[in-house]
Assembly symmetry: D2
Homo-oligomer: 182 residues x 4
């Protein structure tokens, strides 16, 4: 079967966005990229720091509220609909709820073929990159590094601790199933 979606899960500053851009570069077909960052950008500003939306504490903790979860469900539904309509989709997500977050996707995917990718990065290295990028609350990388992978099942895992984004992208691309040539 043809891969319609690639879903990457990993902690903050594990290098997901870089891998996504490399994937879009190395894959011959055009793939659309969405993720938790673009979802949060779509929210009303008032939900970006509130109990019903998403809150980021000074030490990088993230908690999301009821309204956030509801909108996320609708968004998930729509993204899967794009794939079903014919788009190739790469998702860059942070499974704050671990296995439960994966189930949120699974219950909507139905017949859509997904390549599940875990993006690992050693906590200390991710924490250093968090400082280097300079646009994330300090502590977020460390607090998410392992937690987001708990109970999640993958088709393959990559580790950016010692591998470049481009190398990880090539590893992932090799596993993408394209329509049979005739």
């Amino acid at each position: 079967m043809t891969t319609r979606m690639i879903i990457l899960n990993g902690g903050s500053s594990s290098g997901k966005s870089g891998i996504v851009r490399c994937l879009q570069d190395v894959l011959p077909d055009p793939w659309l990229a969405f993720g938790c960052d673009s979802f949060v950008d779509a929210l009303p500003a008032r939900m970006q720091a509130s109990g019903t939306g998403i809150e980021i504490t000074a030490d990088g903790g993230v908690s999301v509220g009821e309204d956030f979860r509801a909108l996320e469900e609708f968004w998930t539904e729509g993204v899967v609909a794009m794939a079903r309509a014919g788009a190739r989709i790469i998702i860059d997500d942070v499974f704050l709820g671990g296995a439960a977050s994966q189930r949120r996707w699974l219950k909507r995917l139905d017949d859509v073929e997904v390549l599940w990718v875990g993006v690992r990065c050693e906590s200390e290295v991710a924490a250093g990159r968090e400082v280097a990028r300079g646009d994330r609350a300090k502590g977020m990388a460390a607090s998410q590094a392992d937690a987001v992978h708990e109970g999640v099942a993958y088709d393959l895992e990559v580790d950016t601790t010692r591998a470049e984004a481009m190398a990880c992208a090539r590893t992932i691309a090799a596993r993408v199933r394209r329509p049979a040539e005739r």
Copy 2:
């Protein structure tokens, strides 16, 4: 009937994004905002300057290719699916094809109730704002100011030439139909 989507159409630098953020602020329910900018961000980088993707000339002209149009169809399908699932959606679009661009939405909307909004801005004023924002190719505002409205039907129109984004948002919000109170 309850309004599920608000679709704003207007030329570059006509002030759509500002109105969207004000709408998200004044509307009591949480609305998700998407648009042509977030769609283009989702494309592979190589499509952002090519004959098959989107090309912006030195004088601000915009042309889009076949692959762009195909992906846009899938994206449109998915965004409407979000609304159908229960989300309230604001779209900020530039109808490069005028009436034909509106038909792209219409053929997928079916039973989803939309509030169609034209965002006008006098060409010369939009051109000045284009310079003031500093992140758009000079000439884009002027070339799109009138063309994007040709043959498009609206529920209401706002004009940012002399009205603030917040005032336009309030005018639009007053026309949004909410579920009947009981």
Copy 3:
């Protein structure tokens, strides 16, 4: 005498940055633009939310500490040195200390000819634009609208409440003294 610096002072969301970009566009010579935003970007991340650096409260209040003030003095010295070396400089500043902030510049300017510009915007309108731009803490515009002008002396004032950035820029540009033609 030839104008070497243009210093704009106004509250948050009063439209200074837009005027600066329009000034750079309409002035025939090349002018370099710096300001409080680019200064803050140059600070260590840890000073962007601390008692010794700059702190922005949830309601948009801004307070700066001792280290911030010391670095700002050095930065001011260097910017004036650029003008003295031959550069034309536009500064976009927020005089949190009103007249005292202007004195910070005055004591270093010496023989450098400056055009002082006050950028006004009615508090309510600035507050609406703050929502429309979406990247500033709500309340900052209102709290700064009048306070930053207290006791400050200008060569001219512009008001963006009803005038476009480009129109304000043309008014300012008309007052810039260029080297005498021979």
Copy 4:
């Protein structure tokens, strides 16, 4: 003598900005960071794509014109003046002219103590990171990787090919001379 400036030179996508942010984090005193990116941001928009300003070709080549060079001289003068006034300054530069670019700094530094740092990254790795970051013209990293170091003398060199930004920052920080303790 006390180090007043740290000047980093390296090609595009060699990892300079990340090292700068890590340096600002690990150095106990507050250091201000400037560089060629913040300088280009200060230029009029019309100079960012013209023969007199800076031009970036489709394959990532960079050429700068006469006006650019003149303004850069004034800017250099001002940045050194900040250090002389008392600021600690980190510069992140791309020596397009190799040794000549270093001389531009040297002739103004006089008595200001500088730590010169070369930032290396293997061309192929930098090219991959260029794709991963997604905001630079493809080819710029490869074309600058070696050229910018020609004839330049350093106090130390770091190589980001296999070392993290944070590790490089620690190596550099260990070489910064602080005022003698009493």
